[in-house]
Symmetry: C2
Subunit: 204 residues, 2 copies
DNA sequence: CACAAAAACAGAATTGACTCAATTTTAGAA
DNA sequence: TTCTAAAATTGAGTCAATTCTGTTTTTGTG
């Protein structure tokens, strides 16, 4: 077991993802034809569909890499948050947003988001939902941490609050990727302004 | 002017929309082939593309009808809101949500949302963004009304708050249409729970 | 070392959205 | 009424994602 076949499989997966990532960056999602990805990965079209259900799933694999990195980076903030509710939220959200365009262009994000709502039951659709949930959980964890530190009122419904903060941030991010002209600094400022209302309500 | 040509044009528009609405309902968005819509509307494929840029725009026209109805219904609540902040929000949001599946199935919503993020600059993409903005404005108007009635604190940032409430509701709605099993009552309850945090913070 | 079953691959064929050049219809002037 | 330009319609053709079927490769067994 784990012989030639498994090695070749892993290798082909990698080659397909690398080829797709390069072509998506260069030509955009729509512009990257499956035939071109297949050629670049030195694999046939049929083989790509043996590995991924559809073109969207290939993008999905790339998105997952990105979001998992972000989740890792976020853990540091949850572990040692700034000693101020507003700053703590801003720092965590800042990590999410600043990382977001590292590997993925806005166009790639748009496609990924579209696919995840269009086909919520495809492998990628489910993975994307899981990633959203993981981000929500991380924000909830931060709130719990702040409550433990006595910075947030104990009687606050942390689960609902975490969801509220995530949902708002996510929607703002969606609008952000929809407008090519939108700038990261503006996005962060707008979210800060919105969260200020919440911070006033929950800070001790 | 407004002679035969204009009448035929309006008639064809109507026939295409009616045919599409019926087929979308019956066969789903993907399942409704353009050729079938053309046949049902007694029009050629080319003519459809003369009226709509792409398949998504046809769905977009149907979505617009739906959302505009919702906006109208919402006006009544803004004009005479319940004399309690929580109830006022719940009533307005209730109107949005209860109407939402009147003409559109969850699958149609998923497609519509996907297209609007995928092609934000297409006619439908822009229209959808405008509809979102109109809904946000209506929530802001409600908040302003509640402030005028002395039910919401004057020092609250109504613009940011309205956006926050809309964004959260919209994201919850997106998750709702992604899960076929999700029920309207659960959605409303979850949003109420989230808004409770805000209500506590802003009510006089 | 065969060999049969299972797994993976290849690429031709299918499918369906969208385009475009040719044709038909309408408006309005003479 | 007749004619011409503009507007609209048509449907066959194009393009690219996805499917399908026959072939090749790998594995494990005798």
């Amino acid at each position: 077991m784990s012989g030639l076949r498994a090695r070749q499989k892993a290798d082909r997966h990698r080659r397909i993802i690398e080829a797709a990532a390069e072509l998506f960056r260069e030509a955009g999602y729509e512009g990257a034809k499956i035939e071109a990805i297949a050629a670049q990965a030195e694999v046939s079209v049929g083989t790509i569909y043996n590995y991924y259900e559809n073109k969207g799933d290939i993008l999905g694999a790339i998105v997952s890499l990105e979001v998992n990195e972000v989740l890792n980076a976020g853990q540091g903030v949850v572990a040692r948050p700034p000693a101020n509710v507003g700053d703590a939220l801003d720092t965590l959200i800042g990590i999410y947003i600043e990382h977001s365009l590292h590997y993925l262009s806005k166009e790639m994000w748009r496609q990924a988001m579209a696919i995840s709502t269009q086909l919520p039951d495809s492998p990628f659709g489910q993975a994307y939902t899981a990633l959203d949930r993981a981000l929500t959980e991380q924000i909830r964890a931060l709130i719990a941490r702040l409550q433990a530190l006595g910075l947030v009122r104990q009687d606050i419904d942390g689960a609902a609050l975490g969801e509220l903060i995530f949902n708002n941030m996510n929607m703002m991010f969606i609008e952000f990727v929809k407008r090519d002209a939108a700038k990261i600094a503006e996005l962060r400022a707008a979210i800060r302004r919105q969260n200020r209302i919440l911070v006033a309500a929950i800070a001790v």
